[in-house]
Symmetry: C2
Subunit: 523 residues, 2 copies
């Protein structure tokens, strides 16, 4: 056999019955890492086992981490949890069937023909990706999303729905029930229903923690239903909880197959043997690529339109899980792996120029999908298909990168069925978990998000104080004067931003002086 073929086979992991492959032939040799890190690898397997058995795997928040139970309820450490998972799944499926059949229907129309999901981050990205990955001519409902607190974004989405608001089911998703962006969106959407004399509650369901603020609101306005998000499910790993399953079922996705795909991958990645565990192999590849310190970004290129949003989903999963200042022993480590990319071959006409010629600060993760299309093949005049070209472009870019010593790996899936989508998500989830163990960090909290939120709240308060002071004052003042009066000199730039924003929206006026001496007054 030739050397290239030997080397390729030696670095290829395959799982024939699942139809998946992992090609590490264009990565650094992992053997030294496997030896050197043997104790850490063993520890990662042990920690993962403990996590699956119900240990407090998220110590900062004193929480269990149970997303693996969602696709294998029999593994959940308590019978009550097992029953909750199973009965919720049944409830989700029944609900979707009733919506599709028109048994659950809006007051003034035959059926719910659309849904509008209000949620942000983990509450939105998974459902958005699933919609993009699965919709076709027989998808039973159209989907819309509001995942921000942008007033113009609200308008744009409500415009899309147009006069079919009365056929639209609103899914309000927030684990805590208090997420500001989602609250604001719900406030605006509620007003849109009321403006048409429609009951918002009769068109809405809440997906939230039991007893949360949103849960109580749902009860008080008589929403059509509520679905739980459990304490032990994190936002970025919530796709297989109600958060992802309710929209998936409404979209006609076979949720049993989606879950089965994840369960099958879980089984393959539960093997405590590095050579036969595609998630540990992937985690070790990340370690090799980044020197275990995030020194290279992950450029993720699925060659499939239906996976065009997958990089963004993985960007959240990887960056929020691995981007951590402190390790579990509270040492400063500033870990993380940046993720970007969209899809091939499209990105070959965009960012691949830099990948080939620019700084060596990335590794490419190609995703190949074997099945070209679900319908019959179409041949171009030279006997090849457009899908052959798609593979040709993947291989061409793979070669062009390898030639320039840019490391890359390739993951292969049989198709983009619900089963395969489930496998793909579970593959990355487990790899992220292993990688965090290798680094000794907590993959399941997000302490860095809080600071921005707290500061944001402070700026809303500052704005209210500014408006009150300007109103009391009844005369124009400079930023410096306002900041001094409010004892907020250290926030003078924020005072300026807020004042200009208020001017831009007709709530304050200013004179035409340069910024330093510009004065602001109430309109």
């Amino acid at each position: 056999m030739t050397t290239r073929w030997n080397q390729f086979c030696a670095n290829l992991w395959t799982h024939d019955s699942l139809g998946i492959r992992l090609d590490l032939s264009q990565m650094p040799d992992l053997s030294p890492l496997k030896s050197r890190m043997k104790p850490l690898i063993e520890k990662a397997f042990v920690e993962m086992k403990a996590l699956e058995e119900g240990a407090i795997a998220n110590p900062d928040e004193n929480r269990k981490v149970g997303h693996y139970w969602l696709r294998a309820p029999q593994l959940a450490p308590e019978v009550e949890l097992q029953q909750a998972i199973t009965s919720t799944l049944e409830k989700v499926k029944d609900f979707a069937a009733d919506v599709h059949a028109g048994t659950i229907k809006p007051p003034t129309a035959e059926k719910f023909t659309r849904f509008l999901l209000l949620g942000i981050g983990g509450s939105a990205l998974g459902p958005q990706w699933l919609y993009d990955a699965t919709r076709n001519a027989s998808t039973p409902m159209q989907a819309h999303f509001i995942d921000n607190t942008d007033p113009e974004g609200f308008e744009r989405t409500l415009d899309e729905i147009g006069d079919e608001l009365n056929q639209t089911l609103v899914l309000v998703t927030s684990k805590s029930g208090g997420t500001q962006e989602t609250r604001n969106a719900m406030d605006e959407v509620t007003a849109a229903y009321e403006a048409q004399n429609l009951s918002f509650g009769a068109h809405a369901v809440a997906i939230t923690g039991d007893g949360s603020r949103l849960f109580k609101h749902a009860q008080s306005i008589g929403m059509v239903g509520t679905f739980p998000i459990w304490d032990w499910v994190g936002g970025r790993t919530s796709l297989f909880s109600s958060v992802g399953l309710v929209p998936a079922a409404l979209l006609g996705v076979d949720v049993d197959k989606l879950l089965q795909g994840a369960a099958d991958m879980d089984e393959a990645t539960r093997v405590a043997d590095v050579e036969n565990n595609p998630a540990m192999l992937l985690a070790l590849s990340w370690f090799a690529a980044t020197n275990g310190r995030g020194e290279r970004a992950m450029a993720l290129l699925p060659y499939k339109d239906r996976l065009g949003l997958y990089s963004r989903y993985i960007q959240q999963l990887v960056m929020e899980s691995l981007g951590k200042e402190l390790d579990l022993e509270s040492r400063v480590v500033n870990q993380g792996i940046a993720v970007y990319g969209n899809k091939g071959s499209t990105d070959q006409h965009a960012l691949v120029q830099q990948l080939r010629e620019g700084p060596d600060d990335f590794f490419v993760t190609f995703i190949e999908v074997l099945e070209e299309r679900t319908g019959p093949l179409r041949f171009l005049d030279d006997g090849v298909t457009s899908g052959d070209h798609l593979l040709g472009f993947l291989l061409g870019t793979r070669l062009a990168l390898s030639e320039n010593n840019h490391i890359n790996l390739t993951m292969t899936l049989p198709d983009v069925s619900a089963h395969s989508l489930g496998m793909l998500v579970a593959w990355f989830e487990r790899s992220v978990g292993f990688y965090a163990s290798l680094l000794g960090i907590n993959a399941y909290h997000q302490p860095g998000v809080e600071a921005g939120k707290v500061a944001a709240k402070g700026y809303i308060q500052l704005q209210q104080e500014m408006m009150k002071w300007l109103s009391d004052q009844a005369q124009a003042a400079t930023v410096d004067e306002i900041a001094s009066a409010l004892d907020a000199q250290d926030k003078a730039d924020a005072v300026f931003y807020i004042a200009e924003h208020l001017v831009g929206n007709g709530r304050l006026s200013h004179n035409s002086a340069p910024v330093e001496s510009r004065t602001y007054h109430l309109k």
Copy 2:
């Protein structure tokens, strides 16, 4: 005045009549760079002037670089060019008006109600972004895009159009007219029209170079029209040529205002004075952030849903322009700046955790938009708006990053009108041009894209040879045997990928042996 306020004002650039600002207060002090690089800065101004006057600014391809002329035709160096730009703009506007009025109409329907754009890279990203940034209830046409050679992607988009293919105008965009992905897409879409006994030509226009293969095809099948892409317009800077203007006009975007916005920004960025040139200030900021060597990625966070695809557009512009192995003197420099990000505050629930706590390998570019919404303001119960929260989140994240010594800058736009969108694109285009001058690289070619394309073509040929050999052979063979027979041992891994792809699509069979000894035969 307080120190913070002084420091802020000293690092704030504003243009009151355009309503734009650039806040560099959270960046390293640029003064040392301005002194040290004075000669290079002067040179960049001189080179930009020469470029605008028609110099061969893209020496590798021996081409002029004329995208600035598109919004100020009077600056084009020849009268013929000026006339071509002006008359094409009129032709585009007339065409769109005729389509909207139904004067130009499909053979079997009253009007074209949709368009389907076939194009990739620079031919698609700008129009996709404009559609996302501008569509509202009064947008006169729905838009669809095929920007790849994925058979399932073709199917999905044709599914979206459903039974309205006869009301759909196809825009085929390819400068060279030979882009493989776009040719494949056109082949498939042509077949879809023919399957409904519709003339493809009667539903299509070509946007391409005069005399190109696509141009000739357009004439031979009697397309509804053709629009030119000139030699001196690059794909990633083609938004203001027919490539962007035809779809923009069809979408009802005020193309005159779009062009005026770019022209206004061009005027502001033509000033040969670093202190008063927001594009040179931005370019110097990139230099300071990355040490002039791509050492930090640009995380681009517009706080506005309508700018959610802008980062992807800029990812292409920046990475394809600046990602270069060689400088103009053929020295190896491996330049480039990686770009990622989606939108705020959404990304605060995804990648911002890592930005706050992870590796210091990025700088954030915030984009603020002053106008919250075009309709009347809506107040939440505490007297603030959802837009106030959006600004609060921007300021909160800005503070959270600055506290952790992560550098960031903020660009402010008055709104997301056509004029502002034009300004925003022109701002980055000029900054990229200046930055390339500072580095001494060619921003206007993409030599690294070619290698992957050539290799891809080779793999298509390899596949054809494999199929022929297996057919002649009439017996099963291993990858190693096939590769040896075709003298392609150095491509054995590609032989494997191709063989498995053919199996996955029912064109070859294999036995169940492990990969090393697996044999393949024709079905």
